[in-house]
Amino acid sequence: MTDLETVAGIAGVDAAVLGDLEGTFLGAMRTSDGETIAAEMGFVGSTLLEVGELLGLGALCTFSLAGRANACLLVVRPQSLITALIAPPQSLGPVERAVDTAFQEWT
């Protein structure tokens, strides 16, 4: 099972997108807007890396965001970025824990 399939298979994940820090679209599941999401999250990821370096916080591992209607989780992998679109936003916590478990298995 690929990283993308693993994340997309977690309960609460509506859709998942695989990209990289350059904004390159590498794949998507259950969304037709993968290219836009990959570009956006690539930019966000690289900009947050810059913020982390300025603050001396080291490498970016994950980025999560919660709104009224949905949530989003960005996971930074060595060669890629995986974005999970989550609904409802209350599922963010369980999804983070599930991704964390999967992440530990990956490493």
């Binding site: 930019f43 913020v51 982390g52 370096e53 300025l54 001396g56 080291g58 591992c61 919660a66 709104g67």
Partner: protein, 257 residues
């Protein structure tokens, strides 16, 4: 408003509390040790760019968390009537209790919103168009209280922050009167050095780092090639041997190279 940020800073694990406007301009700030005003102002630009991009797909975002190898950046959106959308940013380390932080951030966000919307007459508010005036306000009133644990770093920082803030000690790639770093990675390393050194020597760490950089890289921007020499120079400032070793070990971690 500074008092509200100080309340957040008093929480264990919080190293800086910063309020930005929608354009990334710093409205108010409280920070320990190396997280001085100059550094936090530097962060505002990239942070605003990231948030602008996020809002393309997540217009209704309320809170966000960036987890880094050596700490966490917590963001909370504040929609205010008078100042427009603002962002509360907290820089935290691994000792932060996330559950307590969530509650504290909610409470402080509400207070900040009230201060921004109705606090035009309060002393240190970030009123739109008056951001530059904020710069002239004393950022660290003498009455500010130290952290709950009365930690050495926190309490010493209170007394010396004006010196740090006015000494031009920002190590940027563009120079600016202080130490100059060759690239972003070098600047990040200097920040890490100052932060780790502050655990052992207090807020003078940034000055020690600047002095050490001048010794190991005279007349040249600091680069990572000189990181070992710099670490040794700084370690010499720490009297206690176990502390010295802990400092050197911390610099070898991924965030500290």
């Amino acid at each position: 408003m500074e008092t509200i940020l100080q309340g957040l800073l008093d929480m264990a694990g919080i190293n800086a509390a910063v309020l930005f406007d929608g354009a990334g301009h710093l409205l108010a700030h409280r920070g320990r040790s190396v997280y001085d005003r100059a550094l936090c102002e530097q962060v505002g630009g990239p942070l605003a760019r990231a948030i602008d991009s996020l809002q393309l797909q997540h217009e209704d975002w309320e809170s966000a968390t960036a987890q880094f190898a050596d700490g966490t950046l917590l963001l909370r959106r504040l929609d205010t009537t008078s100042a427009g959308p603002c962002v509360l940013a907290l820089v935290a380390d691994s000792t932060l209790n996330p559950a307590f932080a969530t509650v504290a951030i909610r409470v402080s966000s509400n207070k900040l919103k009230r201060a921004l919307d109705g606090g035009a007459s309060s002393s240190a508010t970030g009123i739109p168009g008056q951001a530059s005036a904020l710069g002239s306000l004393p950022a660290y009133p003498a009455a500010a209280s130290p952290g709950p644990g009365g930690s050495q770093v926190g309490s010493q920082a209170e007394g010396s922050r004006p010196i740090l803030a006015n000494s031009g000690l920002s190590w940027s790639r563009t120079g600016g009167g202080g130490v100059t770093a060759a690239d972003q990675a070098a600047a990040s390393y200097l920040t890490t050095c100052a932060r780790e050194l502050a655990r052992h020597v207090g807020p003078m760490s940034k000055i020690f780092v600047e002095e050490a950089v001048r010794r190991v890289c005279p007349d040249l921007p600091f680069s990572l090639a000189a990181s070992r020499a710099l670490a040794d120079e700084l370690a010499a400032r720490i009297e206690d041997e176990p502390d010295r070793q802990a400092f050197l070990l911390a610099l070898k971690k991924p965030g500290g190279k």
